[in-house]
Symmetry: C2
DNA sequence: CTAGACCCTCCAGCACGCTGGAAGGTCAAG
DNA sequence: CTTGACCTTCCAGCGTGCTGGAGGGTCTAG
């Protein structure tokens, strides 16, 4: 099957499929005499797998590593379980960050609700966000 | 003050400060006869504000819009309150996405724990992630 | 005068997952 | 033969927030 057909079957674009090939997710298919990519039916399964894995939050690099293992004949189960745990940990981290940011924003939102525009002086730019005083000896330092 | 001093005072690098200038976050300072940037003391406040706003989860583009308002003489309070609400909504969305991904991953993790490598046949690549059958009439379609 | 710290501009790249376009080739129908 | 759908390659860009380096200029101390 040609790339357009595969694209239609998998719900991707031809561009994306070529990109996946270049990214090492889909092996280079044989070509027709005219130089067209000629995919075997299994390619649909492969692309479906890529999409499944993506929707599970795995990156293309991770998916590639799974596929590489499978292609080498090994059962990638252990590797997959590992990736899943790593991703899970990463997501927990990201969730914690986002929750912290949300807390910061909520504080700001509260402050915004109780802030009188007239209290916003020019020097501190925005008293909602930065409530610091503009004295000469404020202790600015690297915080990150 | 020169850029290095401002960098040290604000905990940023000179590179970052130039980048902020180019990004419209910090106005172009006057130059010394030798061509060096010569910052007024308020620049420290401005950079501190940028960092504060960043840690509150605002993007540089949003921060720029706040600063532009302030620079135009308006109190940006209402705008800031608006941005905060938008960011908050965005974060809620992102949190929901991440939680969904986490749920998907946890399902996968459970499956991984109970999967026997021998059940991973070659055709379906990885039965942990994709449990679909590889029959000829499987209904593959775009799933979003 | 030289060394060295500091500064300048400009260009390029990181990661991530594509997407768009240019310029051209292939193939079937009419 | 022409049209048009489809395909090819290659190059470039999106957005985000920087970071690195090249290749040079400025200033201060000794």
């Amino acid at each position: 099957m040609r790339i357009g057909e595969l694209a239609a079957a998998s719900g991707l674009t031809a561009k994306t499929i070529r990109f996946y090939e270049q990214a090492g997710l889909l092996p280079e298919p044989p070509r027709t005499p005219g130089g067209y990519r000629d995919y075997p039916p299994q390619s649909r399964v492969r692309l479906a797998f890529v999409r499944e894995a993506q929707s599970a939050g795995l990156t293309l690099a991770e998916i590639r590593s799974i596929l590489a293992l499978r292609d080498s004949g090994e059962a990638p189960c252990a590797h997959v379980a590992d990736l899943i745990q790593q991703r899970l940990a990463g997501i927990e981290r990201r969730l914690a960050e986002l929750r912290a940011t949300r807390t910061a924003l909520r504080t700001l939102a509260e402050r915004a609700a109780t802030t009188d525009p007239s209290s916003c002086t020019d020097v501190d730019i925005c008293s909602i966000i930065a409530t610091r005083q503009t004295s000469d000896n404020e202790g600015l330092s690297a915080s990150g």
